[in-house]
């Protein structure tokens, strides 16, 4: 080795202390982080054992706050720690089909039946329903509040060319909205007034609030939404707006890693009287959001 390089190397050693300190700091930070996240780490470890179940759910279930009531009770009653992956119905079913979750709780009947027909799930169990509501500017330029039906309300918005925000993300709410347009006999609308935002319920409500537009929302997300601005609930109550939630365990024949025993225990709980009490009893601003309708 040349003298120059050996000098360089000795310099390196003389500065090694500082390097060591930096490395030590890094590890200390990592250690702190690991300690702080210890509960998390344990949760993940359990993810491979018993007791932890992953369920893909729609944003409305989580945003309504109902999950925060149900999950601790499920844990207390059955010992199952349910980890929620909160996504739109489209993505939830994709996660189920890939075997990345153990069960799904979604609300889009046609898509659910396609999911079952493809063999991705074992069966479909109806749990509860809530309803969709039409939200719009408080002064209601389209006159949707006086509509005779849900489709009539949408047609009034269309006739007025009033801005309408569509989820546009293949979610259950989005599918319902498109089905309503179809039922109204106009197909998927187009034009500058119709704005698919390709986002979740909360994001779509934020957009609608920003541009003072009409938007179809589930009642729970709307009530819980904190940025209402000039928006108001204009139309609700048509039976076609009922929004049925169904629980589908992922097929263990397709994905051997799926925790089907836990999924069955969770289903038993979700259809029990205990669940009925909690779901029917859940109130937000004094309003009942969900109606339990699981058949034993």
């Amino acid at each position: 080795m040349t003298p120059g390089l050996s000098l360089r190397f000795s310099l390196r050693f003389s500065r090694a202390g500082r390097l060591a300190a930096l490395v030590a700091l890094l590890f200390a930070l990592l250690g702190f982080a690991a300690a702080a996240g210890a509960g998390t780490g344990a949760g993940n470890g359990a993810g491979n054992g018993t007791g932890t179940l992953r369920m893909a759910v729609t944003t409305s279930f989580e945003n309504s706050g109902l999950s925060h009531v149900l999950l601790p009770r499920i844990k207390a009653d059955t010992g199952i720690e349910v980890q929620l992956i909160v996504v739109g119905t489209g993505q939830a079913l994709r996660l189920g089909a890939a075997g990345d979750v153990d069960a799904v709780l979604v609300h889009a009947r046609a898509a659910e039946e396609k999911f079952l027909a493809a063999g991705h799930g074992t069966h479909r169990r109806e749990i509860m329903y809530n309803d969709f509501v039409l939200i719009g500017p408080r002064d209601d330029p389209a006159g949707a509040a006086g509509a005779s039906s849900a489709t009539d309300a949408l047609l009034r918005v269309r006739a007025a060319r009033a801005p309408f925000v569509s989820r546009g993300d293949d979610s259950g709410t989005n599918k319902k909205e498109l089905a309503l347009w179809k039922a109204a006999g106009v197909g998927t609308p187009s034009g500058g007034w119709y704005r698919p935002v390709g986002a979740g319920m909360g994001a779509a409500l934020n957009v609608a609030s920003g541009m003072n537009a009409y938007v179809l929302s589930d009642r729970a997300s709307w009530l819980k939404f904190a940025n209402k601005g000039d928006l108001a609930l204009l139309y609700s109550g048509d039976p076609v707006l009922f929004n049925q939630y169904a629980y589908i365990p992922v097929n263990p024949a397709r994905h051997p890693d799926v925790k089907s025993a836990l999924a069955a225990r969770l289903e038993d709980w979700l259809t029990s009287d205990r669940a009925r009490e909690l779901i029917d009893g859940y109130r937000l601003d004094g309003e009942r959001l969900f109606t339990f309708n699981a058949r034993p």
Binding site: G4, G17, A21, L30, A33, F225
Partner: protein
């Protein structure tokens, strides 16, 4: 302006009240991002140095590619890592999806090009300066790279901090591969996205300010430690 002020108050309240959930997600944010930066540095720094001291046929293309990859859209990386780690994907048997491990992988992929690119830039300049000396000393390629990496360490630290900055604020990829599961994979950025979607802007902004404070603290800590000891020559 009113909302921003309330966001500040909220941030203060969160930090002062030692909110346990908050410290949990801060801890996970730090753990995921620091691990990702560590992994990305182990790959990116030597890669940058190697690109700087070696001349080969498609070097220009390699450097251009590296620079372009700095702009990798996190959502695409997230989707790619999801498809890899999905139970139906090639690495599904590892069971990493929806764990911090998956988030570390995604972030490491996102910041490696950034770290390698900044490292390459810094080391190339240093190499121009050291070229004659190192060649005349007949240093081997490995010795050259080690020397340049060591003498350019301050710039490399900057590269790592840039990587840290990009990773700690990243949301698109970790949302897809982590799932933002409460008490398991929820970190600051995904919590901010969640609160924003609920319309809880003050709380979201408060969390955002906590995130900025965290990044500032890490930067100050590392710079402080680098400089204060033995003074000048850094």
């Amino acid at each position: 302006m009113h909302d921003i002020w309330r966001g500040l108050m909220e941030a203060g309240r969160l930090v002062v009240t030692l909110d346990a959930d908050l410290y949990e997600i801060i801890g996970l944010s730090l753990r995921v991002t620091l691990s990702a930066v560590l992994v990305a540095s182990l790959v990116g720094l030597p890669l940058g140095a190697w690109l700087a001291v070696n001349r080969f046929r498609h070097r220009r293309l390699a450097v251009a590619t590296l620079n372009a990859l700095m702009g990798l859209p996190p959502v695409v990386v997230g989707l790619f890592v999801y498809l890899l780690l999905s139970r139906s994907g090639p690495l599904g048997m590892l069971g990493l999806l929806f764990t911090p491990g998956a988030m570390i992988i995604a972030q490491a992929i996102i910041v490696t090009p950034l770290i390698a690119s900044i490292a390459h830039q810094a080391i190339r300049e240093l190499w121009a300066e050291y070229h004659d000396l190192l060649i005349s000393m007949n240093a081997t390629r490995g010795q050259r790279m080690r020397t340049l990496l060591w003498d350019g360490r301050r710039a490399l630290l900057t590269a790592m901090l840039a990587g840290f900055g990009r990773a700690i604020g990243e949301v698109g990829a970790i949302m897809i591969v982590g799932g933002s599961i409460e008490h398991s994979t929820r970190v600051l950025t995904t919590a901010i996205a969640l609160e924003t979607s609920k319309g809880n802007f003050e709380f979201a902004l408060g969390l955002g300010l906590v995130l900025i404070g965290l990044a500032l603290a890490v930067n100050l800590l590392i710079h402080g430690l680098g400089r204060t000891e033995r003074g000048s020559t850094w």
